[in-house]
């Protein structure tokens, strides 16, 4: 037994060291830093609640918090809804070969930097951009899309859509086809099987896909900065602004800790929900 444990440990050691050095270490440091104070533009290592008191008592922090949660939540829901028909099509109406090619094509967006993809949206969404040019031909617009929440949302969706689509496709392709046939055999129309079989059978995958969309959007800085114009600011933008303004690293750390606690709670609840089995009574 002892030899076996050592053997297993040998393989686990790299990831344990990595996580300690680059995740748990910095995490502890960020939490510690949120209790430091800045005096005369110098960070003093102490244990005071100044930054916490200040940040928690300011409305703009809470406004940014609510706005970020709502926007990331909207992105998760929108991406899940928009991706679903395409994923359904890929999972059920195409051959395994077509599905493989489609998934490969969906990975290609990740080859280009997210920043580059965001900038290309810039040219599309701008006041004199491609989209307004097009609708202008039929006498509509121009619409202000850049520097609004619409721009931010489009940026978030650019980031998360391919991933959500891939996760949903794989989820549905792995649903036992015999369950769907059994439902049809029991009088369930093909459209109705979406509610009665596909959504419940693929619950884990759909929830995980939406969770990823939320996590990625929640922590994203690029979309709200370049397409949303930082107005209103999201929490990542608040962090950047706080560090720039008077070297307030402890206050930024407070925001970072709030974000991490939020993500932890949401991820934990989502995973509990996703993996919850039908209770036996």
């Amino acid at each position: 037994m002892r030899r076996l444990n050592l053997y297993a440990l040998t393989f686990r050691l790299p990831i344990i060291i990595w996580q300690t050095l680059f995740f748990i270490g910095p995490l502890i440091f960020v939490v510690a830093m949120s209790f430091f104070v800045v005096r005369n533009f110098q960070m003093v290592e102490t244990f005071e609640f100044d930054s916490w008191k200040r940040m928690l008592s300011r409305d703009f922090v809470w406004d940014a918090y609510v706005y970020t949660v709502l926007m990331a939540g909207s992105a998760a829901i929108l991406a899940s809804l928009i991706a679903f028909p395409a994923a359904y099509c890929l999972a059920f109406q195409t051959s395994a070969r077509t599905r493989q090619i489609a998934i490969l094509l969906l990975i290609i967006p990740f080859f280009t930097s997210y920043l580059v993809r965001t900038f290309s949206w810039y040219t599309i969404l701008a006041e004199a951009g491609v989209l307004n040019g097009a609708v202008g031909l039929v006498g509509l617009g121009p619409y202000t899309l850049l520097n609004t929440y619409v721009g931010t949302l489009i940026g978030y969706l650019t980031l998360v859509m391919p991933l959500v689509l891939i996760l949903q496709t794989v989820t549905m392709a792995n649903i036992d086809d015999r369950l769907i046939q059994a439902a049809r055999n029991l009088g369930c129309s093909p459209a109705r099987t979406i509610w009665t079989v596909i959504l419940p059978a693929g619950k884990t995958g759909f929830v995980i896909a939406a969770l990823f969309a939320f996590i990625l959007s929640f922590g994203d800085f690029v979309a709200p900065f370049y397409l949303g114009g930082s107005n209103p600011p999201t929490l990542p933008i608040l962090i950047i602004d706080t560090t720039k303004a008077g070297q307030q690293w402890p206050r930024a750390a407070v925001v970072a800790v709030i974000m991490m606690v939020t993500l932890f709670v949401i991820a934990f609840s989502a995973i509990m929900y996703a993996y919850r089995k039908r209770a036996s009574r």
Partner: protein
């Protein structure tokens, strides 16, 4: 038979170049227990799926209760199926699984629960109604699957090798449950299986399929005692098949010259026809008699009270004889020993070669 409940008229099913079912003609009466039997890939499951509407026939007509079903979608039929994999919904508990068909028919939840509980009770698993189906045993899951299929009170129940995943002793018990249910409900069961014992134990008539074609339809006894094709003779029971050709013909008896000698067999055939004599393993006896052949014992198969001995005749023909286990010691059927087998002419069956 009066108006059949199910009729297949020249039904054919092709998957690209592969013919899964060819020119199938079959009539199934109301209240009949029909078993469709055959080796893997013989088209038995495809035939069942066509009855359920899960596969559409390429040509031919399928009628249920007189109505042409070719264009009727699966979910618009009342042909519930019990699946080999059971296909219970893992995200629903036992009762909700049973309620599924009723829910699809828009029956309100009180009535659904009442009828589902009634069926679970009948299946003797009411105490597990609220249990996650994944926590139930194989036999319990089987009963949930049966209740789910029967709760809508269909006229026709389709069963696709439903017992193949169960332990041997459970198979026997479930056979009893199924036979009793079918008698009580008086509905038609179409039961697909590769197991001869299941088919013979339960069915009124068996349909034997081979390579997409229906080889023979008849009562278990007919199929067992009077196989119509060589395939059926080989597939059913433990038959000795002696191929040859007809050399003389009487009123109701012919003589067939085979590699092991010339024997008489009841039947009618013209001289010169290629034909085989089929003698069931349990009709073969050790010793000398009316029709005798010499053979060497190769091996024996012990399945309890009956032992099948496999022998080889001088020309290499494989012979089988089934004897009672308790009689075995007196017969000297040890591997390697030379024995003489015989059978009564009346016990032989004439099999004409299909052209």
């Amino acid at each position: 038979m009066t108006e059949p409940l199910v009729s297949l008229d020249k039904v054919e099913k092709r998957f690209d170049d592969f013919v899964a079912v060819r020119e199938a003609n079959l009539e199934i009466g109301a209240g009949e227990f029909i078993a469709i039997m055959g080796p893997s890939g013989c088209g038995k499951t495809t035939t069942l799926r066509m009855l359920a509407g899960l596969d559409a026939p390429t040509s031919g007509e399928i009628r249920i209760a007189g109505k042409l079903m070719n264009e009727v979608a699966a979910h618009e039929r009342d042909t519930p199926m019990v699946w080999q994999s059971l296909a219970l919904f893992p995200f629903l508990n036992a009762r909700e699984n049973v309620e599924f068909g009723l829910k699809m028919r828009g029956i309100d939840s009180d009535e659904r629960e009442k009828r589902a509980m009634n069926w679970l009770d009948r299946m003797e698993i009411a105490e597990f109604a609220e249990r996650n189906v994944e926590t139930l045993s194989g036999g319990q899951r089987q009963r949930v699957a049966l209740a789910r299929a029967l709760v809508t009170e269909p006229k026709l129940l389709l069963l696709d090798e439903p017992l193949s995943a169960l332990d041997a002793h459970l198979v026997i018990r479930m056979q009893g449950v199924l036979t009793k249910l079918q008698k009580e409900l008086g509905i038609t069961f179409v039961y697909v299986t590769h197991s001869q014992s299941e088919a013979f134990a339960m069915a009124d008539r068996v349909v034997i399929m081979s390579k997409g074609e229906i080889a023979q339809v008849g009562t278990p006894r007919e199929v067992y005692r009077a196989p119509r094709t060589r395939f059926v003779a080989e597939f059913v029971g433990r038959n000795n098949i002696l191929p040859g050709s007809v050399t003389s013909s009487d009123a109701d008896q012919v003589t067939v010259e085979t590699g092991l000698g010339t024997f008489s067999v009841p039947g009618v055939a013209t001289i010169g026809t290629k034909a085989s004599i089929v003698v069931a393993g349990d009709m073969m006896q050790v010793g000398r008699g009316e029709n005798s052949v010499d053979a060497t014992v190769i091996s024996e198969e012990f399945v309890g009270s009956i032992v099948t001995a496999f022998l080889e005749a001088a020309d290499g023909t494989e012979l089988k004889v089934q004897v009672q286990e308790r009689a075995l010691a007196d017969l000297d059927l040890q591997p390697g020993s030379k024995v003489t087998l015989h059978w009564a002419t009346q016990d032989g069956h004439l099999l004409l070669e299909e052209t």
